[in-house]
């Protein structure tokens, strides 16, 4: 080594206590879900672009090759249209084994009838995936975990996978000390928390550091039904089935067809027995299944989702991404993980790892998501109003069905519903569109027409099928 190089290294090390990454900096990423893996991937990518030589330790004790809950990160498993496009733009293609099914339409189920909303381009741009490697006891077919795939990408970029369970992250002499259940302990220049809200780490961080408030959570229900590929093709098709039912406390429910399984994803307030029983015994749900019977499920869980962002989601040398920090309300959590992960990576590579850097460059992304969530609450509020009113449901059904029949006309309702269900557009965008006079006008007309006595005769053809099932 020449003296010049030696001096260079010395000056780098003994320089002012700056909180920006330097050659040799070490970063701990806790959790290898989409947020952790994408952060590592983009961080190393950007660091390479600016010739910064850093080390990333990605902590994840579980194996995504395991079937069942051990290798699963619990979610409905939808990669939204917008995220599929953005990942493709970044050069990240979802391989065949990861995509369990390409979704090309949404089927809206209401008591007043069903309607199928097709993607505008007749193209499969929504991916149904498994976060782990498929449900409990599933056959080891050619499935591949989505999270496992992203982790492989991060590892290919140079992230070092550390298979240990992190139980503590704390500040120690201006560095972040990561401790694990097996007593392993190491110090880092930056700690990135990407554990989601279904691990206790965020909780213990809040208790220990008192530097922030952990995210607010609510319980959801997810389960898997084994129906077989052929049955799914004939019943559910490449369509995600969304339920707009007048069941108290039910916010949203969808059946997502995958390879041999159909995933149920249920959101609501204080999900309990009663709510689920009402849901499972509603004819709209039962009729989705072969012979009108809901089969037994093979795997279920009650994952928590983030409904209120961590505040703040960063401090010096510490940042929370994905569900541990901020996510989109109810929808497209993976998309939010991508956005926050990338924003955090950008911040630390191009600006720094101090709280002020995160405030200036990372927080805006979180705030944009949170702000949109406020609008989202209003939109879901409208949604539940419609859900509660048979009158309104008829109008929505009629308007959507007519739009779907008329291939070349405007499709305001269809697009609003599509974007709302698929999480493809921001809530703000969806909301603004519903304020458009043409939308309101059309809806009003359909409300009247859909509820007039002759409605059923006019509505009985096309994609929308009036199936006015008065309680059997």
């Amino acid at each position: 080594m020449t003296m010049v190089e030696d001096l260079g290294r010395l000056s780098k090390r003994s320089g002012p206590q700056s909180s920006s990454l330097q050659d040799g900096s070490r970063i701990a990423v806790v959790g290898a879900g989409p947020a952790g893996s994408l952060f590592s991937y983009f961080l190393l990518n950007m660091a390479e672009a600016v010739s910064l030589d850093i080390g990333v330790d990605l902590f994840e004790p579980r194996h995504f090759c395991h079937r069942g809950p051990a290798g699963c990160n619990h979610c409905g498993g939808i990669v939204s249209e917008s995220l599929v496009q953005r990942l493709a733009t970044e050069g990240i293609m979802l391989p065949d084994g990861v995509v369990q099914r390409g979704i090309e339409s949404y089927t809206l189920h209401m008591d007043v009838g069903d309607v199928e909303i097709e993607t505008p381009l007749a193209e499969k741009r929504i991916a149904a995936i498994y976060r782990g490697n498929g449900p409990r006891n599933s056959e080891p077919l050619d499935t591949h975990s989505f999270d496992g795939y992203l982790l492989e990408l991060a590892q290919e970029k140079g992230a070092n996978l550390v298979p240990r369970l992190v139980t503590g992250v704390r500040r120690e002499d201006n560095r972040m000390r990561v401790t694990c259940a097996d007593q392993y302990c190491n110090d880092y220049d930056l700690a990135v928390i990407a554990t989601g809200v279904n691990s206790r780490l965020v909780e213990s961080l809040e208790d220990e550091s008192r530097e922030f408030r952990r995210p607010g959570r609510t319980k959801t229900f997810i389960c898997e039904f084994l129906l077989g590929r052929d049955v799914i093709r004939d019943t559910f098709g490449p369509s995600m089935h969304v339920f707009f039912l007048d069941i108290p406390r039910l916010k949203f429910a969808a059946l997502i067809p995958k390879g041999d399984y159909v995933t149920l994803c249920l959101l609501g307030k204080d999900i309990d027995d009663e709510l689920m029983q009402q849901f499972f015994s509603s004819p709209e749900v039962m009729n989705c299944f072969p012979k009108g019977t809901v089969p037994s499920h093979v795997c279920h869980c009650y994952p928590r989702i983030n409904i209120d962002a961590a505040n703040p989601a960063y401090s010096d040398r510490l940042v929370m991404i994905g569900d541990s920090g901020t996510t989109r309300l109810f929808k497209d959590g993976i998309g939010a993980s991508y956005r926050t992960a990338k924003a955090a990576a950008r911040t630390v590579v191009f600006h720094g790892t101090g709280a002020e850097d995160f405030e200036k460059y990372y927080a805006p992304t979180c705030r944009a998501i949170s702000k949109d969530n406020q609008v989202g609450k209003v939109v879901f509020g409208f949604g539940s109003l419609i859900q509660k009113s048979r009158f309104a449901r008829r109008g929505v059904l009629r308007m959507t069905a007519n739009e779907q029949k008329n291939a070349n006309g405007s499709r305001r309702m269809s697009e609003v519903l599509w974007d709302l269900f698929s999480g493809s557009a921001s809530y703000t965008d969806v909301f603004l569109r519903t304020l458009h006079p043409a939308y309101i006008g059309s809806l009003l007309w359909n409300l009247v027409a859909g509820n007039s006595p002759s409605a059923s005769s006019r509505n009985g053809h096309g994609r929308g099928q009036e199936c006015d099932r008065v309680e059997h």
């Binding site: 004790p61 579980r62 194996h63 395991h66 069942g68 809950p69 051990a70 699963c72 619990h74 409990r136 298979p163 240990r164 369970l165 139980t167 259940a181 097996d182 007593q183 279904n198 691990s199 206790r200 780490l201 319980k219 999900i271 309990d272 027995d273 009663e274 689920m276 029983q277 849901f279 499972f280 015994s281 039962m286 019977t293 809901v294 089969p295 037994s296 499920h297 093979v298 795997c299 279920h300 869980c301 009650y302 994952p303 928590r304």
Partner: protein, 560 residues
């Protein structure tokens, strides 16, 4: 009723619904150990010492106490046990079984180096006095278990020192006599008296002893040796393996000559062959089956080869030939393997016409041991082993254990001595015997999840350089593992079937069903609340050691 505990009922079929429960299981090492050694227990104390607030020194002390609850000779067994515990270690196929035997030795040596005191249960002195005949591992184990319960024990040993076959037959290079001395000496810290040079049946009769003591334990061993039954066997130049080893251990003069042939394939044969090599002889081991069938421990055979012992397989001696009184040749018959016998071992069959002569100065016959209690006035003759009840009871106030019930490894003798003591104590004191750990379910293969454990190479004992093996001082070949090695090795234990605080269930339970216990010890770190359990089964699937399992009543949705 908790509102999340019942699955949706819209379906007619049962629903997969998995409430978890914490249930300790018997680990395979303990199931394999003849003495049911709580390997997981004493390794766990070391591996989890930080979690339970112990210093490393305290942890080793406690591990020694735990280990010596069942085995008073850990430094000895840590050297000579063929360690069946390691055969089915869950770690075996991942990166090698835990070096349990090396750890036992390390802890045994730790106890000797620190002169640790027995952990004696707080019990009053008992009035009954106990007589023990023989002082091999079974007798020592029985003596220890009775003495620490407060009984006065008298040991009757025909030799000048206690130890039985451990002392008489195992060569110093496998078990240095200082180690055995130190471990046996410690027994006399308990109310134990040794009557040395006392041969029961000769110096004192068994009936006299039965009058003197409330209870007698027979640890007679298998002092006899089977003979080959071939012409010329009786006569100078032919000696039994046990006799040879005993004379050598007693440092008596040996005149074995240059060419030694050892007959047999067991550990005694190998020990005898290795000893003869140390006397400078050219040694050939003859075995009538092939190498694969040889019962001796593989590593001992490998070491013997390394020392220059030759092996000839599929040969059987047919006669010993002398010139006058001096042995000259041994005639051997070539064999082949025939049909399997009742134990599944293939029976050797002679190949007609294939005989040859081997030049020989001494033949050591080590084919198998036999009972020998001549003069003891037992109701049973010594053509067969003692038939006791399972706990070792032979007759009223007469118990037995060890090789006199059939030859086995030393660990088995320790176990028989201990179990007899537990049963005898229960009888004398009118108390119940402690529940055997066998009553716990053994961990099934597949319940342990090896890929949740990080890879960690097995630590092995260092060995003396091979050129020093045949040194006249007869140094021990294997060396006790180092301190860091021992710590790393203890941490390799997967704690099969018992919580070791990996925290996976606690960290990943969606419902927050696990709470940390304020007072923790190995196996006891978390409490599980069924009210919070949402039945997803994640904790069971991320539990690496198989401690968490499906609660039976809930497996098919019939809970409540």
């Amino acid at each position: 009723m908790s509102n999340t505990k019942t699955p949706p009922r819209a379906s007619a079929q049962p629903v997969f619904w998995t409430h978890a429960q914490q249930l300790e299981k018997l680990p395979p090492c303990q199931a394999q150990c003849p003495n049911s050694g709580d390997v997981r227990g004493w390794l766990g104390i070391i591996a989890q010492h930080e979690k339970t607030g112990l210093t490393l020194e305290q942890a080793y002390d406690r591990a020694w106490e735990k280990l010596t609850e069942l085995n008073p000779l850990p430094a000895t067994l840590g050297r000579i046990c063929p360690h069946p515990c390691e055969d089915l270690c869950s770690r075996r196929d991942k990166d090698g079984s835990v070096s349990i035997n090396a750890m036992e030795r390390y802890i045994g040596d730790w106890g000797l180096a620190r002169s640790l005191k027995w952990s004696v249960p707080a019990q009053s002195e008992k009035p009954e006095s106990i007589g023990v005949i023989g002082s091999g591992p079974a007798s020592l184990s029985f003596t220890y278990q009775m003495a620490r319960r407060g009984y006065q024990v008298s040991l009757y040993e025909r030799h000048a020192v206690a130890g039985g076959m451990l002392r008489q037959a195992i060569p110093d290079f496998r078990l240095p006599r200082e180690v055995l001395d130190a471990e046996i000496q410690r027994l006399f810290e308990l109310p134990v008296t040794l009557h040395k040079n006392t041969e029961v049946g000769l110096d004192i009769s068994l009936n006299e002893l039965r009058d003197r003591h409330a209870l007698i334990f027979l640890g007679l061993g298998a002092q006899g040796a089977h003979r080959l039954g071939i012409p010329g066997e009786a006569g100078p130049g032919v000696v039994s393996g046990i006799a040879y080893l005993r004379r050598r251990k007693q440092r008596l003069a040996l005149t074995t000559g240059r060419r030694v042939v050892v007959i047999g394939g067991g550990n005694t044969a190998i020990d005898a062959a290795r000893c003869a090599r140390r006397e400078g002889a050219e040694v050939t081991v003859l075995y009538r089956r092939s190498a694969k069938e040889m019962p001796a421990a593989t590593n001992e055979v490998d070491d013997a080869r390394a020392e220059g012992v030759r092996f000839e397989f599929l040969v059987s001696p047919t006669q010993v030939l002398r010139k006058g009184p001096v042995i000259q040749w041994i005639e051997v018959q070539a064999m082949r393997l025939g049909a399997p016998d009742e134990q599944g071992r293939r029976r050797p069959v002679p190949i007609p016409g294939e005989k040859r002569l081997l030049r020989v100065d001494t033949v050591i016959v080590a084919v198998s041991q036999a009972p020998d209690w001549a003069g003891l006035d037992l109701e049973q003759d010594d053509t067969q082993w003692l038939m006791t009840e399972e706990d070792g009871r032979l007759a009223e106030n007469l118990w037995a254990g060890g090789d006199d019930r059939g030859p086995a490894i030393a660990g088995k003798a320790i176990a028989q001595g201990r179990l007899a003591a537990e049963a005898a104590h229960a009888e004398l004191s009118g108390t119940r015997r402690p529940l055997e750990c066998q009553e716990r379910r053994t961990l099934n293969m597949g319940e342990i999840k090896p890929d949740f454990y990080r890879d960690q190479e097995r630590e092995c004992q260092a060995r003396r350089p091979q050129e020093e093996w045949l040194d006249s001082a007869e140094p021990e070949i294997d060396q006790t593992i180092g301190h860091e090695q021992a710590q790393r090795e203890a941490a390799r234990c997967m704690s099969c079937g018992l919580c070791f605080d990996c925290e996976a269930c606690f960290m990943y339970c969606n419902g927050g069903g696990f709470t940390r216990l304020e007072e923790s010890r190995p196996g006891h770190y978390f409490a599980l609340s069924l009210d919070a359990c949402e039945g997803c089964g994640k904790c069971i699937e991320v539990c690496p050691c198989g401690y968490l399992e499906v609660r039976e009543s809930s497996a098919n949705g019939s809970d409540q």
